[in-house]
Amino acid sequence: MLEHAYLIPIIPFVTSLVILLGGKEGKDSKMPYLGIAAMGWCFLQSSVLFFRALSGRMPLEAGKEFFLHQRFPWLEWGENLRINVGVLVDGPAVTLLFVVTLVSLLVQIYSLGYMHDDKRKKRYYAYLSFFTASMLGLVIASSIFILFACWELVGVSSYLLIGFWFEKPGPAYASKKAFITTKLADCGFYVGLLILFCYAGTFDLVSLKSYIAQGLLPVEVAKAVGIGFLIGAIGKSAQIPLFIWLPDAMEGPTPVSALIHAATMVVAGIYLVARTYFIFTAAPTTMGAVAWVGLFTAFFAATMAITAYDIKKVLAYSTVSQLGYMMLGLGVYGYTAALFHLTTHAFFKALLFLGAGSVIHAVHTNDMREMGGLYKRMPTTAATVGIATLTIAGLPLLSGWWSKEAILHDVYAVSPGMWVVAVFTAGLTAFYMSRMYVLTFLGAPRNEEKHSHAHESPLTMKIPLWTLAVLSLFAGGILHYNGLFEHLVHFKLPEGSHGSHHAPAYLLPGAAIFVFAVGVGLAYKLYSGSLETAQQLRGKLSIAAETLEQRYYFDDFFLGLVKLSDKLATACYWIDSRIIDAIFIDGWALVLRALAAVNDFIDSFIVDGAVDGVGTITQDAGWGLRKLVRGQVQEYLLYVSLAVAVFATFMLSR
C-alpha cells in the first residue's frame, strides 16, 4: 500500500481524463459512478495508510521523520538544474490524504443528489476528479516544484469548478476573480521558490530541510522565501487582504464549495506553510507575520460573518476565519494544533456546506431571511448542521473544541494579548454560527411558500451528512486521545521557540466555554423571534454594519487600486504622449531630421557628386573615345599596325 502511494493522485487524474473523453454527456450519464468508484479506491488506500500510521503500525524510515520518500529524476538540465518527481509521505500528508479523499468521496456521492438535474454531469465529475487529483498531488509531492505545479492545477480546476455554471454572469465573474486573485498571490510563491532554489539548488523537501537544518541558508534569505510563501498561502487560503475571492466563489455549486472552500483548496495555503515549516522557523520574523496575518484574518472575517444574510457567505467568512485560526496556530509554533484544527475543520465545515447545500436544494434560495423553521421539514439536515454548528462554535468535547483549544493554548503561550483577540473571535464564531442556524432552522417560517415546498434531501445527500456529523462529533476526541495526532504529526519544536506564558489551568477552557455560551445565547435571543430586534440593532450601528457588509471595503480598496492604477496609467500615458513623445521623441525626431537634411546634402552633393562625377567622367570619356572608333575597319588596321610596329620594333631590338 505504502510504496504505491503515488497511485492516489494518479488514479483520479486518469479517471478525470476517462470521464472527460469517454461516455455520453447528459443527465443520465453513468460517468459519475466511475468517478465515485475511483475516489472510493483512493479513499480506501488513504484510510489504510492513515489508520496504520495512526496506530503506529507503519514504521518511519530509519532515523527519519517520514514514512516514505520516493524520488525519480524527471527533468535534468545540466549539473545544476535537476528536478525530481516523487512522493513524500509523512504524518501531515497521510492526514491530508485521508481528509481530502474522504471529503471528495462524500462530495461526489452528495453531488449525485444535488446535481441530479444538471445537464453537464459528466463534465462536473471530470472536474471534481481533476481537482481532487491536483490536490492529492499537492499533498503528496516530495518536491516543491511539483507542489507548485499541482498548486497551479488546483487553481485551474477551482476556476473551472467555481465557474461551472459559466452561462450565468455571477459564477463567470467569480471564477475570474478567484483565478486572478490567487494568481497574484502565486507570484509571491514563485519568487520565493526561485530564491530558495538559487541558494539551495534543490526543490526536494527532505534535502531542503537538511540544508536549512545545517544553517546554510542566510536568515535574510529565509525571511524573503518565507514571506514569498506566505503571500502564496494568503492568496490560496483566503487570508487578509486577498480573501476577497472566497465569498464570491460561493457562486459555484454548493458541493464544490464544500470540497474546495472547506476541506481542500483553501487549506493548501496552510499546508504549504506546514510543509515548508522549517523555512519559517528558520526566520522568526516570518513566524510573527504568519501569526499576525492569521489573527487579523480570523477576527475580521468573523465580524464580517455577523451581518451576512447569504447562508453560503456566512460559511465562507467562517471558513476564512477558521483558516485564520490555523494560520495563527502555525505562527505561534502550534504546528500540531494547526494541522489538528485543519482536520477537524474539514469535517465540520464540509458538513456545514453540504447541509447548506441541502437547504438551498430544498428552498432554492441563499437568503436566510427567506428561511426559518426548516427543522420540521428537514430533520436530518437540521440535526447534522446543528451538530456542525455546535462543533465549530466550540461546544466542549466535540471535535472543534479540542482543536481550537489546542490552538488557543499555543497562542496564549506566546502572547496573551493575541489570545484575548482569538478568544473573542471564538465568541464571535459561536455567535454568527448560531445566528445562521437559528435563522435557518429555528423560529417561525418567514417565507411560507418556500417553506411549504421544502423537503428533505434524498439518501445520496443524507449519507455524507451523517458520515461527516459522526466525524465532527468524535474525530477530535479520538485524535486527541492519548496524543494520537501529536504522535502522528511527529513535530519537534525548535529549540527555545516555545512561549514562556503559562495560563492557570482553568483559564483557557473557562474562557472558551464562557464565550461559547455568550455567543450562542446572544444569537438565540436576537434571532429566534422576528428579525425586528436585529434590524433595530443594525440601524443603531449602521456605520459599523455597513462597513462589515462591505467587507471592510476591501473590494473597494482593490477596485480603487485598480482604478488608481488606471488613473496612473492614464497619467503615464499623458506624460508619455505629451512630454516624452513630444519633447524627447518628436524633438529628437526634429534633430534627426535636421541631421538627415545635412546628411542628405552631403550625400547628394558630395558623395553622389563624386559618384556621379566618376560616372560622368567615364561617360564623357566614353563619348570621346567613341569618336575614335567610327566603325572604320581601316582605322582599326591603322592602329593595330602602329601598335605592332612600335612594340615589335622595341621588343625585338633588345
Binding site: L638, S641, T649, L652
Partner: protein, 163 residues
C-alpha cells in the same frame, strides 16, 4: 650585269608599287600591280628560283592581276577619278611605315656581307619532291583552301534567284 638586272628590276618593282598605292585611277593601279608583280618575278629569277619565277607570272600576273582588272571594271565609276583615293590618315600611315622600315633595317644590317656562295641550280625537281614528301599534307590543305575559296567566291558573288 647582275647589278644592272637587280637595280632595274628593283626600281621597276618599287616605282610601280608606289604607283599601285598612289595613283588615282584604279585601273591604272591594277596595271601597275601587274608590272610590279612581274618585276618581283624577275627578282625571283635573279635569286635562282626558276619555278617560282614561272609560278609568280602564271598565278599573279595572269591570275590575280587580271582578276583585279575585271573587278575594277565591274565596280569602278567615273566619279572616282575626281575624288582623292587616299584617306586623311596618310601622315600617320607614313609614320607607321617609317617605324616599320626602321625596325626592319635594324635586322637587315647584319646581312650586309652575306653573299651567295653557290651557283643557282634548277629548283623544280626538288620542289616537286618536297611537295610530295615532306609537304604533302600542307599541299593537300592548300588544295582544300583553294576549293573553299572557289566555292566561297561563287557563293558571295552569285545573284540570288529570288532577287
Amino acid at each position: 650585269m647582275e647589278h644592272i638586272v637587280f637595280y632595274s628590276l628593283s626600281s621597276v618593282a618599287l616605282i610601280s608599287a608606289l604607283g599601285v598605292v598612289l595613283m588615282r585611277n584604279v585601273l591604272h593601279c591594277a596595271l601597275m600591280l601587274g608590272l610590279s608583280l612581274m618585276a618581283v618575278a624577275g627578282l625571283f629569277g635573279s635569286l635562282g628560283a626558276d619555278f617560282l619565277f614561272a609560278g609568280q607570272i602564271v598565278v599573279y600576273v595572269t591570275g590575280v592581276a587580271v582578276l583585279v582588272l575585271f573587278v575594277v571594271m565591274l565596280a569602278g565609276r567615273e566619279s572616282e577619278l575626281n575624288s582623292p583615293q587616299t584617306n586623311d590618315k596618310w601622315p600617320l600611315a607614313l609614320v607607321i611605315g617609317a617605324i616599320t622600315f626602321g625596325g626592319f633595317w635594324r635586322f637587315f644590317g647584319a646581312y650586309a656581307d652575306t653573299y651567295a656562295t653557290t651557283d643557282a641550280e634548277p629548283t623544280t625537281r626538288g620542289i616537286g619532291i618536297l611537295l610530295l614528301s615532306d609537304y604533302a599534307l600542307p599541299f593537300e590543305l592548300i588544295s582544300l583552301i583553294l576549293i573553299a575559296a572557289l566555292i566561297g567566291a561563287i557563293h558571295f558573288s552569285r545573284v540570288e534567284e529570288s532577287q
